[in-house]
Amino acid sequence: MSTALPMEAEVLARREESPGLFTLQLRLTDPAAQAAYAFRPGQFNMLYLYGVGEVPISIVSDPREETLIEHTIRAVGRVTRGLERLAPGDRLGLRGPFGNGWPLGDCEQRDVIVVTGGLGCAPVTGAIHYLMKRRERFGHVNIVQGVKHSADLIWREQYECWARMPDTTVLIAADEAEPLWPWHVGRVTDLFDRLHFDPAQTIVLSCGPEGMMIAVAEQLQAKGIPPERIWLSLERNMQCGIGLCGHCQFGARFVCRDGPVFRWRDVASRLKIRGL
């Protein structure tokens, strides 16, 4: 782990997921650093593009995959548009991992509901892979993904493949859909009657736009899931990743260090206030 100084990483492969959305497979060029690198799903790295700057990006690969680190990135700003142009063999800097990650240990023996919306899928994708690779340790796994437009759905085959797994429910909703869209048209919360879970034994992982997460958390709480077992991944401006620069403050919390994953119980009142 490197907190202040980046480590050099090399792009092994680059994959286009959809226009403006791409995945980079990275490997730390120092073999000892790569071997020592360990993370939990839900944590993030600061990726440094030479001469341009740094951005926080969540890690989507599996923590047991020791030879590479994978990031799915949307090209929205100066740094991410620059990262989009990287090709195999190119070098960048990497600091991390930072943040707390998802409480995956607490998911064991429980029913799990993963709800993601919009562009927010990357932080939980790593968690879903983790659950699916260790399927026997968890109860019923519900994967609920919402997108604005059906064309925004990435990893479609992946969802279809997960849907065929035993004891797994995959539900997808698009606010607007093209003809022949096989899934729901509307909001993710419309689908909650079709979830399989025992409220006393369920844990919720959610990420996406804050308005969506609030609706998700409120409705699942109304269905009997205690607010301390509903976990949300928050986003804020992040520049240092280590609780020093102050940009990610959310109330008294430093999202980079105390989060990005928080219990709904602890953030509910503040999340509902605009501009905090």
Binding site: L5, G93, R236, N237, I242, L244, C245, A252, G275
Partner: protein, 374 residues
């Protein structure tokens, strides 16, 4: 009787004529001495070598949005209140390099930590509010899970000579925060100034050693009482009060008070208040690339939650209006700090009131917000 003279109970006396000896001793011991001087119409810390450079006879007048200096004909060197800057710039540099990245012709990158500049500096005349501010900065930069190396290097090299306040400004409220006017911790040596000279108290080993190099004598009871009376008067002269009660809980319940929009109509979001605040720690990371392209630097520089960039997320500020930014500043100081670092983020120096171009008064605004609860 003596024991009651807080701040000078154990003090030794250095006559006014011998005050240069302290500067000499500090320089002899290898310190660069920084003391208050009058420059550009304000009192601020600058490198000094002689006692003559200190603001002899100067008084300051501080009011909301106003700072003026006036001259009086006396020998007092510290008869004024908070200088224009706190000790913050001495430890948390306004702009510094975090690391340098080099790229070779093959595109390979190497990274190098910047060696922090950390001269051995002695501050002559640190105010109690600013020592409290330093304590707050220490909590943030040193006592979290990721201590900051550059901050630590500079902090370790500071020798601090406090001066107990005898002439608070109208903007001061250290008596209300409990941080002054008498410095009670965090210094090596402290000065209680009376007309005849200085009453010196050592607190650290280094302070004791420094005191031993000076031609000091036993302070007499009259001197002690003169100093003590001045400190008591300095406490009584302060009329500003922090609102009472559990501020974190009270302010959290008022996040949607209409008072935020009201102050936002006056606030220019200039960020002066955060810049002069001794506890504000926010900084932006920025990139600076050499023209030849072989080297690039990552720097950090002071930032303020009053800027749109501070809360930028996916190209848009989370705190889109001035009301939410003013709320961030005020609630961070008076509420968030309690949760983060177990004490208020305000040490009562009053600078945010003095240096606000609109004369906006943090305490009055906190009161206005709290009153909307009734």
């Amino acid at each position: 009787m003596t024991a009651e003279c807080e701040g000078v109970a154990e003090a030794r006396f250095l006559a006014a004529a011998d005050r240069q000896r302290l500067i000499d001793a500090l320089m002899d011991a290898g310190h660069e001495v920084h003391g208050p001087v009058v420059r550009d119409g304000v009192i601020r810390y600058e490198p000094i070598t002689t006692i003559e450079e200190l603001p002899r006879g100067w008084r300051d007048e501080q009011q909301p949005g106003r700072y003026r200096l006036q001259r009086q004909d006396d020998e007092r060197l510290f008869a004024w209140a908070a200088p224009a800057h706190s000790l913050k710039p001495h430890v948390f540099a306004p702009r510094e390099t975090l690391f340098t990245a080099r790229r070779d012709t093959e595109g390979r990158l190497t990274f190098e930590t910047a060696e922090p500049e950390a001269p051995r500096i002695a501050i002559l005349g640190a105010r109690a509010c600013d020592l409290a501010g330093l304590f707050l900065q220490d909590k943030h930069f040193l006592h979290g899970p990721h201590a900051d190396a550059a901050y630590r290097a500079r902090r370790r090299n500071l020798f601090l000579i406090a001066v107990h306040c005898t002439h608070p400004a109208a903007t001061c409220f250290c008596a209300a925060t409990g941080d002054g006017p008498v410095a009670r911790y965090g210094y090596d040596l402290a000065i209680g100034e009376i007309d005849a000279g200085w009453l010196l108290t050592a607190r650290s080993e280094a302070g004791v050693a420094m005191l031993a190099r000076l031609p000091v004598q036993e302070a007499d009871e009259e001197q002690r009482q003169a100093a003590d009376a001045a400190f008591t008067a300095a406490t009584r002269a302060q009329t500003r009060r922090l609102p009472e009660g559990d501020l974190p809980a009270r302010l959290a319940a008022l996040a949607e008070s209409p008072a935020w929009a009201e102050v936002a109509e006056r606030c220019l979001a200039c960020g002066n208040c955060t810049a002069v605040c001794p506890s504000c720690f926010c900084h932006a990371h920025v990139e600076e690339t050499d023209l030849d392209g072989g080297r690039s630097r990552r720097l950090r520089q002071w930032d303020s939650c009053f800027t749109a960039g501070h809360s930028l997320l996916h190209g848009r500020p989370v705190r889109a209006d001035i009301a939410s930014r003013y709320r961030q500043w005020l609630t961070h100081k008076l509420a968030g700090w309690h949760e983060q670092y177990d004490r208020s983020g305000c040490s009562g120096c009053g600078r945010c009131i003095t240096w606000c171009p609109e004369g906006i008064d943090l305490l009055a605004e906190a009161t206005a917000v709290l009153e909307t609860a009734e």
